[in-house]
Symmetry: D2
Subunit: 358 residues, 4 copies
């Protein structure tokens, strides 16, 4: 009889529960990880609320730090007991999407459906990692060894938050000297701020309304902070940029208001880089879009995954360029994950990210 493990599952809109499942059998390309640390993502809250539909009973979570428990028969290059991470997105490496440089979309389903968006599998189309164990598909493409000098918490932002936030800056093609506005300063937005700083932006303007976040925004790279509950952010950004608008605007929330403001503050020829997960149709105002004649670029990004991405992100942490430890504000045992969701989803107590340890 298969051994059991504790898991956090989606039950129905509004309810996440702790449950038990058998520890999974592994296929030839898989690895079984014993999860040592994981976290909760804003997307998990969307799932909990039923705003993003997944199957009832699915184990959720997509940000694993763990130890290799068992390797599939075809997996080479790793050893059991090795401490590793895997990205939230787990490209196979061998799909056509991967081989044309679009690994995040490996396994993307039909565009007309809703389920398999992008290549996001963990806690979306397969069981996730808010559990004692998690099965990592295509292990050789996805497992990245954690350097000995980094703790679990130090690499906990790599699988999703840091990879996604940075991609907002990367996909925008930020150049040295650019001005960049970042709309929303949750964990993703803060990492987008870091990404803009690392990319050479000379002026970074962070927009949010949570006073407590502005200090960390500034610490991570923002030159200006704009409280949209107090001033019109579009006017304020136009003022800061002497009417020029920004070269790049990063959307890091997933709402019409932030998307639209991001478009309105762009200079002609500028780029809107969107990271948010939207839950409604979007409107593009004619004027802000210059009637289609503004040489604008709008890009969306799904969190880049794969072991090379993880290796590079951990390298940045090792270099000391960035310190994301302040993002982990609370710690919970897996047994208490329902309480963790409660805190995190209500954004109580200044929470940014929680560390969950099984």
């Amino acid at each position: 009889m298969a051994k059991k493990m504790k898991v956090a599952i989606f039950v129905e809109p509004g309810r996440i529960a702790l449950d038990e499942k058998p520890i999974p059998e592994i296929g030839p390309l898989d690895a079984l990880l014993r999860v040592t640390t994981t976290t909760i993502c804003g997307t998990d809250v969307h799932i909990m609320k039923g705003e993003y539909p997944v199957a009832s009973g699915l184990t959720i979570g997509h940000e694993p730090v763990g130890v290799i428990e068992k390797l599939g028969s075809a997996v080479t290059g790793y050893r059991e007991g090795q401490r590793v991470i895997a990205g939230a997105i787990t490209p196979s490496g061998w799909s056509n999407a991967c081989l044309c440089g679009c690994g995040s979309q490996d396994g993307a389903g039909t565009k007309h459906g809703w389920k398999a968006i992008g290549g996001w599998k963990f806690g979306n189309t397969i069981d996730g990692c808010q559990a004692e164990y998690v099965l990592v598909p295509d292990a050789m493409a996805n497992l990245a060894a954690v350097p000995d000098d980094l703790t679990d918490e130090e690499v906990l932002m790599c699988p999703d938050i840091m990879s996604t936030g940075f991609s907002g800056a990367e996909r925008a093609g930020i150049q040295i000297g650019d001005s960049v506005a970042v709309f929303a300063q949750g964990p993703i937005g803060l990492c987008a701020t870091v990404g803009a700083k690392l990319s050479g932006a000379a002026t970074i303007i962070a927009v949010d309304r949570v006073e407590a976040r502005f200090a960390i925004s500034r610490k991570l790279g923002a030159d200006h902070v704009v409280d949209f509950s107090k001033v019109d952010p579009v006017e304020e950004i136009m003022r800061i940029t002497d009417g020029r608008g920004v070269d790049v605007a990063i959307e890091a929330l997933g709402t019409q208001a932030t998307f639209e403001s991001a478009l309105r503050v762009l200079r002609p020829g500028g780029t809107l880089s969107s990271l948010g997960v939207y839950s409604t149709d979007l409107k593009i105002p004619l004027g802000a879009f210059a009637a289609g004649l503004g040489d604008h670029t709008i890009v969306t990004s799904l969190c880049p995954g794969g072991k090379e991405r993880m290796r590079r992100l951990m390298g940045i942490i090792q270099s000391g360029r960035v310190d994301l430890k302040p993002l982990v504000t609370h710690r919970f045992k897996l047994d208490d994950i329902v309480a963790a969701y409660d805190l995190f989803s209500h954004q109580r107590d200044g929470v940014l990210k929680v560390a969950i340890t099984p």
Copy 2:
């Protein structure tokens, strides 16, 4: 007393009229062209209808072929009597926008207004070229000598149609082997089809409903034509691409329907390249946008201008790669321009482009 010239002016919504104005005085950086051939653009029809506002009395038209009548005092490198073209968009060369590679947006006004969209000046913010004479600003950046072996009509598509249509393919970053759908096969869409072919697309799908255009679409590069009045173009394109969707979709009309269909047929990670001039807000459907997680890119382009662009476009015509002469279906004298607008705006008699000769 200044000599007079005939001009076509915008009077009020619904009315273009032939009028007279003094031949303009030239400034040190300008050139005065005696227009030998010009044409009417779909955008001019928008102006005539009042859908795109310009000042009453403005001379319209932005596609000049002509002969240099007079050169500004600071202009070197040209001689009077030389046959030249200038692009629809006339970058100064020396503006900050030009110097950062965004010359089409040189002179773009406030994004919140409507008047000065992009760097489009001729027939928008300054007098245009549906006239006997036209003043070309920043002549050294904009006048391109026409090779002797090319006729006026052979280069008549360069200033706008060809430059804009090609930019739809160029801005999309088409790779050899890509599949590309082009929505609408008016003159711009046809040139986008040509641009996709020149960029190495292996499968080009042209969408329109005017049966007569499909023959020219095929001749200019389309592998498949889709009549959207007979089949659902999204379903048909998904069928043609075996459910994969296209790598690139080019929008060449400026409507919600074409924009939305272009988004729906994109593969995950694909690019929507928009050329149309819109006249309403746009809606981005959530599903087609993969909730923001599809690694999509949306780009808009304004017709690239400047003498180097013109030189290269004329070089392509000289090479024999492309024959756009079939696009000129009708010819009018400037005196008859009101009749030309009537024909062109009602798309009668299979008209694609008209040649106007003062």
Copy 3:
């Protein structure tokens, strides 16, 4: 006792021989192909001559068309009996090199050695496909199904010649309207000419000295042919381009003379795209290099591989954009491969490529 198969092996400099080996055992990620058609590459001639060292006894050849005989235990998505090709370069998909978009260099050895250059494995570091059977590593990343409407010979150029030749144009970033010179019009150079045409080059200048090749150069896209045995190719290209030089020069031979000429004909800011396999140190002349101040770019490319690349190349052949069948000038049985090498290496009888059928 393992069944035997016929193979062509490298014996010692100057000698290729037909031999027998056991049909190989397959690992979990491999596929065993029964080779139906293959060919000889210029690089194989380098190997034969001892100019490019491989182990004695190695089966050579890296351009397989075949039928799946057996699939590894972890391989899914294919069926035995399926007709497929694999690229000359066989990226794993899961390596760090692959995951950062540099799949051709997957498995590249130390740069100081000579053996494992790039990710080239077939007939270099593992047994190749001039044999009755060949083992394809990382089958899921490498096997591309051949469409039913394409013959073996029609896809025979995909694994190397077409992929390499096209990459010369792709890596150079050719823009619509560019002028391009291609130095040498062997099979690779001819495919570079095709690649330049597909990329929108307006002027393609092909350089060689074999009169017979000029007709095919012209047919595949060259606007001008230059016989370097009769005129100085640098002077002639400067003349053709009115002293401007070319935007892109593609080197497709691998000699100092062609590399240097390619650099000399570049316009300031132009790109030299090098495809040749060199066998000596190269010299960069100071003047041609503008003392390092010319904003030049020099790129080298190793044949892109992987199933997506193969799928796209076959798609181009299906589209009818390109007809490379004229490149197959001779046909041999595997039993006669020594004669085929003799013909091919001496470039007798107007040979371009030979088809070898086991």
Copy 4:
């Protein structure tokens, strides 16, 4: 009679002298600057030594900070008395080179000659700015207003050192997380180190042999310093990168040794970005070049100029991201420029850059 001004001229190899010339007449597109601060470049030392030939009697120097004394008749958008800088390279804006995004090569002469390399005019093909006054060509494209809160010395590195050094990082396409080696840590190399840091490099390895420079290298972004007089820099860099090699190597000296080492430490697929001004032919060793199969990229850059570039560089200084004031180690009056050349050319007294004030 024209008023006279003091100038530093090249007399003959080995000799720079202070002299007098008439203050120049200005043309319609020019501006006359009264120079307030300038500096000496390594290239000026090449000129002085006769290693880079210029006309005898030419005023040298190409890094001006000054005040507008007089504006040409066609120049608008500036006022006399305004404090400005101009880049070392002065693109016209209106040339074909500028209009295709290659402004640094505007005016580049024949590639076979030596004189007009790139678009470098000041102190190369026209009189330079080691003088009381300097004529700036194409003023509207080149004059950038200095923000009031920046001193002359704070912006003195913008015209050349910072623009060139940064371009080494920019042209290499450094990605967040890259490892970068910078060969030589003179002023240009130090700015390349800064540029690599601003571009998100996670590991920066600076190579030089002047112990005193290592402290500033570290301060400006180097994670590792390698003294090539004590260790083999190739071996040391391979050790630091665990045998992987670097993603990008920047050459900032202009010698065979540094060029070759830069190539040897590249990972397969890596980029060599060359900034140095060479004075001899270069050799590319076959092994380091992977016989042409390494997917390498080699780029050279000439200092980007133009007012938008200057505006952005000054913006970076204003942002506080970078403090280059420590590079100005010595100060001289124009009257003492011969002494300044003596100090600078012999690299005495820890000199990095000198400020010259007329």
